[in-house]
Amino acid sequence: MSGALLKVEKLFCERDERVLFDDLSFEIRSGEIVQVEGANGSGKTTLLRILSGLSRNYEGEIYWRGEPLAAVREQFHRELLYFGHQPGVKALLTAEENLHWYCALHPALDPARIAQALQQVGLEGFEDVACHMLSAGQQRRVSLARLYLNDAPLWILDEPFTAIDKGGVAAQEALIARHVAAGGSVVLTTHQDLQGVEALRRINLDQQSGT
């Protein structure tokens, strides 16, 4: 199957009177990893939010599996995992409760895998601790546990390695590599030097911004 998963055509976005990117077009196929690069404030997070459908302040067209995004939104959301700037974790709930809610929101997920997912991010024993009692890194790991729960084809990850230690980074890189090998796709931004990951394509936003 060689059709593009996600196709972006002539994307234009401006914010605060500054054009972030203009006439941006690219495709993401299965089995690809795409890293979005650019200086701080160049619009990396904005682009990721547009790709995930959170932001609608853009001009241009986005297609998911060949259909306009607006027409297949529900299916797209089934097949997307978005890891955003904020962890999406409620401080007053425990790690388990947070992930149970995530499974309620994504009915294709199996709640029985929650315990194993938490173990794989190194939070074994912390499942029933309220998240406000965890460190910032641990809270991000609760959110990262979703990567072990959700087999969605497209992963959009915004700075997934922030506040994670070296061992954790290696584990995440391995996970991403496995996901891509099985046919999934990943779009991410990161300041880290990705070492264990091959087949990396780069999109540099500094070269994209219009005048």
Binding site: N57, E61, G66, E67, P68, A71
Partner: protein, 256 residues
């Protein structure tokens, strides 16, 4: 799998899509502006003179009732303007049309001003009739609430920094308000009958002689023309401001 473009759906007339171009809108309002300005001037001047000098005095209220020639048109306009604002907002939301957003944003202050005019003229009418500057009459109270709705839309628009988001949020609010307007009117009327045993209404009696409602009609049409002028002026400004980085705007401003 063929890629379907969103613009493949062309079941609306061509002029609708033409409207979406700010530049085209700017040009066409430029042509319409003098027409409407002259019409407004003639109708308003003529109507006012007719209303003040030539229309017969009301047998009960004497000459003070002549204020309805300002009150009724402004009340009608305040309501029409809200509907236009909500409609333009809806079009902007559904079809993502910048021009529709700009129309909605231009409508709000004009409509609010009309509402204030209606309230002031209503108060002026009330003074000789009731002896007080304000009375909690059903129509005045509804107009006051309509004014609040306008203020809400304007406040929300001003509070959100991103233009696009502000326009979308204001459109949602305007639509929610639109749905509520009949409910508010009904509830205020009901409330009024409960608390006001008054038999005399501020509205004109339904059977108005021709000599009275003809100048009123002239004034109403004149007000609509004036509203069109005010709206177009604001819209043109808004277009220039939003599109200031476009080539045609730069050429336009440089040629002046």
């Amino acid at each position: 799998m063929a890629d379907r473009k969103a613009s493949d759906r062309k079941w609306l007339p061509r002029w609708f899509y033409q409207l979406a171009s700010p530049r085209w809108c700017y040009q066409i309002t430029g042509k319409l502006l003098p027409v409407f300005s002259i019409a407004a001037l003639i109708l308003l001047l003529g109507g006012t003179v007719w209303a003040l000098a030539f229309a017969p005095a009301d047998y009960q209220q004497g000459n003070s009732f002549r204020i309805i020639y300002l009150h009724v048109p402004s009340a009608i306009l305040a309501q029409s303007c809200y509907m236009l604002m909500a409609l333009a907002g809806a079009i902007g939301l559904i079809w993502k049309m910048k021009v529709a957003d700009m129309v909605a944003k231009s409508c709000a202050p004009v409509g609010a001003a009309m509402a204030v005019l209606a309230l002031l003229t209503g108060a002026i009418w009330g003074k000789p009739t009731w002896g007080s500057w304000w009375v909690w009459d059903a129509r005045l109270t509804s107009m006051l609430i309509l004014f609040f709705l306008y203020l809400g839309v304007m406040a929300l628009n001003a509070a959100i920094e991103s233009e696009v988001t502000a326009a979308q949020a204001s459109a949602v609010l305007a639509l929610v308000g639109l749905v509520n307007i009949p409910i508010i009117k009904y509830s205020v009327e009901w409330w009024n009958t409960l608390h006001q045993p008054a038999t005399f209404k501020l509205t004109e009696k339904p059977a108005m002689p021709v000599e009275m409602w003809l100048p009123l009609l002239v004034m109403v049409i004149g007000f609509y023309c004036f509203f069109a002028v005010a709206l177009m002026l604001r819209l043109r400004n808004e277009i220039l401001r939003r599109e200031r980085r476009a080539g045609w705007v730069r050429d336009l401003l440089l040629s002046k």
